[in-house]
């Protein structure tokens, strides 16, 4: 197993070789996932792991996929999506053109959820959903819009709890063990790699969603990423975080107010 000290040795080497900076990640969960990777890949020593990571780029890419968390589901936290539907989307409807950024979108389930909400509000045609992640492989899955059939029951339950009134299965075609989502949804999505640690702002949005990403970052990195979001939000734009995340440690907090429902959604004051 890898010790904390060994992890501290490895992280600067990774920056030097690949430019990926994990030094702002919370250590307890990072070391846990690096150790899970170590066991899964049957490494015999820290030296072997380091050597393989630094000598073999595809092994390193695999490492990034494994040590970043890619667990997600459609309409995760249905109450949150209900609030998006009733409180936020009516505001977005007033814009001639809607730009939304899903930062750290993983395999895209939340992006498809958003597209469904917009479609039901009759707004999908004038919207673009930018979906980014540092991990290319999950973006390819997101782009394909093909998800395991086994998840559809949970997704459908969440959809109904989030106030959905259609037949959830009308959004996909079942094909053996997979559900292929309607291309009309993904046509409005733009997928791209983006590393919140090192990449900069690339557009301005009326809504940015970044849920269950900041929990993996230390306070400094959280503050930096929130500043990046601040730069990327229109005035009066909305920022949505995960159910256990907040802006409390960020210098930008005074310029935002949490919406009245107390969901984890903040609005930029000006």
């Amino acid at each position: 197993m890898i010790t904390n000290e060994e992890l501290e040795e490895l992280l600067p080497e990774i920056i030097k070789h690949y430019g990926y900076d994990f030094t702002g990640y919370s250590r307890a969960s990072l070391v846990r996932r690096v150790n899970a990777f170590f066991v899964k890949e049957r490494c015999s020593s820290f030296a072997e792991l380091t050597q393989k990571l630094l000598d073999n780029q595809s092994f390193f890419i695999h490492f990034v996929e494994e040590v970043t968390v890619n667990v997600t589901e459609m309409f995760r936290d249905p109450g949150f999506y209900k609030t998006l539907r009733t409180e936020i989307i009516p505001v977005l409807a007033t814009y001639p053109f809607i730009r939304i950024w899903h930062a750290g979108c993983s395999t895209g389930e939340e992006v498809y959820s958003m597209a469904i909400l917009l479609k039901e509000a009759g707004l999908l045609q004038k919207a673009i959903l930018y979906a980014t992640d540092l991990n290319q492989k999950v973006l390819e899955k997101a782009k394909a819009g093909i998800f395991p059939m086994s998840q559809m029951r949970q997704n459908s339950e969440n959809y109904i709890k989030a106030g959905g009134r259609q037949e959830f299965s009308s959004y996909y075609t079942a094909n053996y063990n997979f559900a292929r989502f309607d291309k009309a949804l993904s046509d409005k999505m733009v997928f791209s790699t983006h590393n919140l640690v090192s990449d900069s702002s690339f557009n301005e949005f009326q809504l940015i969603l970044c849920r269950n990403v900041l929990i993996y970052f230390d306070k400094d990195l959280q503050a930096r990423v929130l500043q990046l979001f601040d730069k990327s939000l229109d005035s009066l734009g909305f920022l949505a975080l995960g159910s256990k995340e907040s802006m409390k440690f960020s210098p930008i907090a005074p310029y935002y107010s949490q919406i009245e429902t107390k969901d984890k959604i903040w609005r930029k004051k000006r």
Binding site: N4, S26, R27, A28, S29, R32, R33, V69, V71, N212, I215, Y216, K219, G242, S243, K244, E245, F249
Partner: protein, 200 residues
């Protein structure tokens, strides 16, 4: 601004439980001395939709401060932290808390194994883990690791537990220090852990 006195705790108690352990906790909490000077973390399997009701319920049963664990919280002596639903709860070297929404472990999120192991990394011999009633083997594996790190292990008497499977799994690992009934668990905590002087 709220003021917090930051005193880094020396030791930690983590209590894990699954089905039947709510009852056990409702028995233990009222018996705990209000001067108890260690942080206590409770990791309870529960369904994802349950809200803060648990925090209020526990708070009504003890004089200790009860709160849902938030990421970056600094562990404070005399405070009871409840792991939030649908996240793993971990402890950083600086004794702050971290949350993790990665895959379930032993079909559970929060997983008792995850918190026990993480706590052992930071607190070593100053960690006490207590495993209560349950129908799941979560917690038993990490107890071996806690032992290796020098921590103390207590399980609820499987005969008393509503569901004895979970404590029994731990007992089978041959590492448990004490097998106690709920009343004895409270007594053990009141006599074996640190105290705050009674100036308030």
């Amino acid at each position: 601004m709220e003021k917090e006195t930051i005193t880094s705790p020396e030791s930690l108690v983590v209590i894990g439980g699954s089905s039947g352990s709510l009852e056990a906790l409702l028995h233990i909490l009222p018996l705990l001395d209000k001067r108890l000077h260690v942080p206590v973390i409770i990791v309870l399997h529960r369904n994802n939709q349950s809200d803060n009701g648990l925090v209020e319920l526990f708070a009504s049963k003890t004089k200790l401060l009860v709160k849902e664990a938030d990421e970056k919280d600094m562990l404070q002596p005399g405070t009871v932290y409840i792991a939030p639903p649908d996240y793993h709860l971990l402890i950083e070297q600086d004794k702050t808390l971290s949350l993790d929404a990665s895959a379930k472990v032993n079909f559970s999120r929060p997983s008792i194994d995850v918190t026990f192991s993480s706590a052992a990394d930071v607190f070593g011999k100053n960690l006490t883990t207590i495993l209560l009633s349950g129908a799941n083997a979560d917690g038993a594996d990490a107890m071996v690791y806690v032992k290796e790190c020098g921590g103390k292990l207590i399980v609820q008497d499987p005969g008393e537990a509503l569901v004895g499977y979970m404590p029994r799994q731990a007992i089978e690992q041959n590492v448990v220090d004490h097998i106690l009934k709920t009343e004895e668990i409270a007594q053990w905590m009141n006599t074996s852990l640190g105290f705050r002087s009674l100036e308030d």
